[in-house]
Symmetry: C2
Subunit: 126 residues, 2 copies
DNA sequence: TTGAACGTTTACGTTAACGTAAAGCAGGCG
DNA sequence: CGCCTGCTTTACGTTAACGTAAACGTTCAA
């Protein structure tokens, strides 16, 4: 059912507005392992999604290794109970972090409201 | 109206769970300039709030200089229209960033729900 | 009075996340 | 054929945000 797209490294670089160096660096760090046609890297849809997740993690302030942990949760290689419990624990902690972050964002948004109002006010005082 | 508290550098370090080096580094970067009693730094409530803002910015994935920009918006030194317009522009852009970030968080929360469900499922399959 | 417990400065070290430059191979085109 | 475009590798450089160590000055309780 479709979506057997192939992407070159610069296709992805263009789409996500990053450099090819960045993509290769993510591969160096073991976060991507594209198929090779000879020397040339060929990326499929799964690779593309992974890259997207990495970049979203980055926007959320996660380090690469933190993002890797998150992404590894979706890999179907969890085989024993101990692993699964560790994963559930990670999920729980991550969720707490996100909620704290949500709170931070709400606070900052309120303050942006105030700051904006203050600017407007200063604008009318002449 | 009180709140003329004084804090030592390690008071703040303890409260926010960071090192004194970190606090001094923020001063080096021009984000804090505490009162001095001789050589010794003495921080007041305003300094404490500033530090809190810096750390919140950090949790939100902002660099120090980005946080500085945000904090400077609250300093009452904006004197001309050009400045104010620039500030309003910054506020607008920051708000867009925050909304994108909110979206990212929501997505990630949904995925955490799914991941958790998947784990639970694997847990029941025995 | 001495020795912890706090503070200070100066200065070099470290890590993550790339940037950048050099040198080279593969394919298409005028 | 020569050149351009796009890919590759290797490898050293860079910046932010501190860590860490050395050497020194207070203060205060035993």
């Amino acid at each position: 059912m479709a979506s057997h797209h192939q992407y070159s490294i610069s296709d992805l670089a263009r789409e996500f507005d990053i450099t090819t160096r960045t993509i290769r660096y993510y591969e160096e760090s073991g976060m991507l392992c594209p198929y090779r046609d000879g020397q040339t890297r060929l990326y499929n849809e799964a690779d593309r999604v992974k890259l997207k997740l990495i970049l979203r993690g980055k926007r959320l302030g996660f380090s690469l290794s933190e993002s890797r942990e998150l992404i590894e949760m979706y890999d179907p290689d969890s085989d024993n109970r101990h692993q699964i419990n560790a994963l559930l624990d990670k999920i729980h902690k991550r969720r707490e972090q996100l909620e704290a972050q949500l709170h931070d964002i709400q606070l900052m948004q309120e303050e942006l409201d105030e700051a904006e109002a203050k600017c407007m006010e200063a604008f009318n005082d002449d």
